[in-house]
């Protein structure tokens, strides 16, 4: 809880700095330092809670009814606080140099006020244990995030993005509010401990309504499709350290809420519930990655990948729900672990990716990948860290992304054997689509990394890019290290989930999932499948070294020269010859044309004959399906209805008197006998 204090201090200091305009260069550093301390303290607290298996709770009642400032660090909360504090630490280290470089001088105070407020409210969201307090923390998080998103509010884009984010979040919290109140009708009290397992006691209709409302409400924050449109609009326009936090952990608040509701407040849910979660997960994952492939704005691309990974997490959750309703606690545990673990992993590597993207932005002054290229030479370490993140998010061995996706596969597969009914078919299909998603993600990150960092620079900004400062690099390094550790040491990390599963399902999970004294990860049992990322990593090293040895022994005499790449005989290879991001994703755009409905136009200027064009302008854009077919009609109809309604305020006093008169007469006629 001392972490909260540090954040509060950070806020206070931020405000002070805002009030007292002239502050030295030390000032933002101090603020970042404060939030860093907060993060570290919380890291300690959460780890302590997770490993010592001890719940620490703390409560303070206020005058206002139902509002008790009660904070409880149970395993589930501690797990998410762990993720939060990892990211918060990295982000604040990153900010040491980021804030002074990319924010106007005197605004650093108010910026870090909101930053600390965001971290504080996130901590409270994860730890609050009474409904009203939770909702308050939730809204605080939303609002502070909003102000951070619109921090560069001079730009139209960021204002629009922020507004969309704020409005949709409010809609979501509205649904959450009703959902929670429906739950609370069943339980007398509004305390989370009283809400435990309340789902069973409700009447089916109430239970279903509350479930759907809460699922969608949290889904807005998590960015599930079709409630996702704010996410690619808001995340990219924020300052990069904020985008990292938002894509990394703020959307996880939605996941936390779902975990809390699905597995703590509800026991076994009907099949349709789990199925809907699973389906939403699949859709989000697939569409998310497909839209990501079409982006050549680096940060928008990453934002769409957040949607994809949320989808993967929800696949785990949905499977867990289904297993629970079919009565297979062990499988439910496996699926739940898969989902939760992927949540943590995604938090880490997405934060890493956004931070390095921020570095790239700072160097290249654009988010458009078509302007980048060749950065690997000018900013080698950023490139390396981005590569690590890319491998992790593509779910390739031996990094952490692979582990959690592997667990998800295993859960889905064992679902087939376990579940009796026809729903069993859903599991392998989900698995296959997950495979498709992962492969597409790999393709997408080949594009992202290749176009951004490799080959020749496509813009002069990129050509004179410079490596980012030490603190920013070290933040990325730390996260990259965490990616590797979580990947290789997965089997050692798994016991962390024991208390959570204990709390939810009532037994420890790691004995079933870990074998070979912590070296091998299994899917329930050695027989049903096993993997060991650590061994794989070692073997890869050895096998990779083999040809190297061979090279040293025999290949000495063969020369090694540097020469120009094949340029079809043109005079010299220039950036114009390079493959562009748009071109890279063209085949997929064609294959999924039914979804994207791409629009292209080509204008060629030529002097002599059409065969010798002077310049060719090609532009192609895809149709934003949901915006065009769902949200725009909705917005228009609402506004039309509103402007129709406004006619009642005609300005004529006679009309006004008539309203009153009619009301009076009607009430006299029907009211009195009422």
């Amino acid at each position: 809880m001392a972490g909260l204090l540090a954040y509060a201090l950070g806020m206070a200091a931020g405000l002070a700095g805002y009030a007292w305009k002239r502050t030295g260069a030390w000032f933002p550093k101090l603020l970042c330092f404060l939030s860093l301390t907060g993060a570290l303290l919380e890291l300690a607290a959460s780890l302590g809670a997770l490993f010592s298996r001890s719940e620490l709770a703390w409560s303070l009642s206020s005058g206002i009814p139902y509002l008790t400032y009660s904070v409880r660090l149970d395993p589930l909360s501690a797990y998410f606080v762990l993720a939060l504090s990892l990211l918060a630490a990295a982000a604040s280290v990153y900010s040491f140099d980021y804030i002074p470089r990319s924010l106007p001088g005197d605004s650093s105070g108010v910026f870090s006020f909101f930053l600390n407020l965001l971290l504080l409210s996130l901590t409270l969201v994860f730890t609050a244990s009474s409904v009203l307090f939770f909702l308050i923390a939730w809204e605080l998080m939303t609002v502070s995030a909003y102000f951070l998103v619109v921090f560069h509010h001079e730009s139209e884009e960021s204002r629009k993005g922020g507004l969309l984010y704020l409005l949709m979040s409010r809609g979501g919290s509205g649904m959450m509010l009703i959902g929670f109140l429906l739950l609370a009708v069943g339980a007398g009290s509004l305390d989370f401990t009283a809400l435990h397992g309340i789902g069973q006691t409700l009447t089916p209709s109430f239970g279903a309504a509350a479930f759907l409302l809460l699922f969608l409400g949290f889904g807005v924050k998590a960015g599930i499709i079709p409630l996702h449109i704010w996410l690619p609009a808001a995340h990219p326009v924020a300052p990069s350290n904020i985008s990292a936090l938002m894509s990394g952990i703020v959307i996880k608040a939605g996941i936390y809420g779902m975990a809390r509701v699905f597995f703590d407040f509800y026991g076994a849910l009907p099949v349709w519930a789990g199925m809907s979660v699973l389906v939403i997960g699949i859709v989000s994952a697939l569409l998310g990655v497909l839209y990501a492939l079409m982006e050549h704005d680096l940060k928008r691309l990453l934002a769409y990948h957040s949607i994809e990974n949320i989808g993967i997490i929800l696949m785990g959750f949905g499977a867990a729900l289904l297993f629970r309703s079919f009565g297979y606690p062990k499988l439910a545990a496996l699926a739940l672990v898969a989902g939760l673990f992927h949540a943590l992993n995604h938090a880490v590597f997405k934060c890493l990716l956004f931070l390095s993207a921020g570095g790239v932005l700072q160097a290249a002054h654009t988010r458009n990948m078509e302007q980048m290229g060749g950065l690997i030479r000018r900013m080698p370490s950023t490139a390396l860290f981005f590569l690590v993140g890319a491998i992790a998010i593509s779910g390739l061995p031996p990094l952490n992304g692979f582990v959690s996706e592997w667990l998800t596969y295993q859960a889905l597969l064992s679902g087939y054997g376990a579940t009796p009914t026809l729903t069993r078919l859903a599991f392998p299909v989900a698995g296959a689509l997950l495979a498709l998603t992962a492969a597409l993600a790999a393709a997408c990150f080949v594009k992202a990394f290749g176009i951004t960092f490799l080959a020749l620079p496509r813009g002069e900004e990129a050509a004179k890019a410079r490596e980012v400062s030490f603190s920013m690099r070290s933040a990325m390094a730390a996260l990259a290290l965490v990616c590797v550790l979580l990947g290789l040491g997965a089997a050692w990390f798994l016991p962390v989930f024991d208390p959570i599963i204990q709390q939810v399902l009532g037994f420890a999970v790691s004995p079933n999932l870990v074998a070979g004294n912590g070296l091998i990860l299994t899917a329930g049992s050695l027989r049903s499948g096993s993997v060991s990322t650590a061994v794989m990593a070692v073997l890869l090293m050895l096998l990779g070294a083999m040809p190297l040895l061979g090279w040293l022994v025999w290949g000495r005499k063969s020369t090694r020269a540097a020469g120009p790449a094949w340029d079809c005989g043109l005079p010299g290879l220039t950036a114009e010859n390079e493959y562009t991001a748009t071109a890279f994703s063209k085949p997929l755009r064609m294959i999924f044309a039914a979804l994207f409905r791409p629009r292209r136009e080509i204008q060629a200027e030529f002097e002599v004959s059409p065969y010798y064009p002077k310049a060719i302008r090609f532009e192609s854009e895809i149709e934003p399906t949901f915006e065009k077919h769902v949200y725009d009609p909705l917005r228009h109809s609402v506004l039309a209805a509103a402007s129709w309604m406004r006619r009642i305020q005609t300005g004529s006093i006679h009309a006004y008197l008539t309203y009153i008169f009619v009301t009076l007469v009607l009430l006299l006629l029907f009211g009195v006998r009422g």
Binding site: F453, G544, R560
Partner: protein, 313 residues
Amino acid sequence: MIEQVVGVVTQMALVLFLSPLIAGFIRTLKARLQTRRGPSVLQPYRDLYKLWRKGMVIPETASWIFTATPYVLFATTLLAGLLIPAISAQAPLSLFGGVLAVVYLLALGRFFLALGGLDTGSSFGGLGSSREMTISAIAEPALMLAVFTVALGAGSTNLSVVAQSALGQSWRFLAPSQMLAFAALFIALIAETGRIPVDNPATHLELTMIHEAMILEYSGPYLGLIEWSAAMKQLVLMALLVNVFFPFGLSSDWSPTAILISLLWFSAKLLVLAAAVVLVETTNAKLRLFRVPELLAVAFVLSAMALISTFLF
């Protein structure tokens, strides 16, 4: 323990030195079917040897990714080769990663290969990477679903277990689900190994080439490594196919005699499969890039039907 080591070493040697032979066999057989004399079966060995001794040219535009790629590709493919049952039902390292690991290791290799293609800065590289990633991506669900169908039959993703359960009930491959899954996997194999009708390994025509376009800038030992890895990948996938569906003659231990017998079985099965591949290659023309998805859709449907039929029968 000692048996483990023997197994690892044997299988490593097998994967390393059998793969060029299969490649050569396919090449020769194809030539013969086209009534050409064609190179000797041992030609791939010679090529590799030659490439190994040659000097190489690295594009100035390339970065360390370009250099790292061959090693990563080699390592991942070889490791994948150690995870599958080749001659013994007990794959040496299957404990450390099942079929999922195999698929994803190959994916890791492909990831780097595509990066290497982009790294050169020449438009061919990008073209190759783009097409390679696209095709592999849409091949993935078919492959996976077929693999799942098999895995579900055995109730495990551990390939040794799968193979043993297959051994346990021979003639199982006659079950409709198995046949369908096999067909699906066969198409996936063709796509993954880049053979006609998906890709033409022999062409250097920029309109059609995929794999070749990516490695256009590689030369000398690096090219050798990549070619070798390609051959190994082909072997790995074919072995996976034959041993999972037709587990005849898989030895259950690593005693020399058993190894010898099962080695014969193994090569026989591989040759048959290779022949099938050649047959497909010679009887079909290469598809246009945007026709390939239809082929793979067929594969996906096949594997889906396989899944459903396991549910039925």
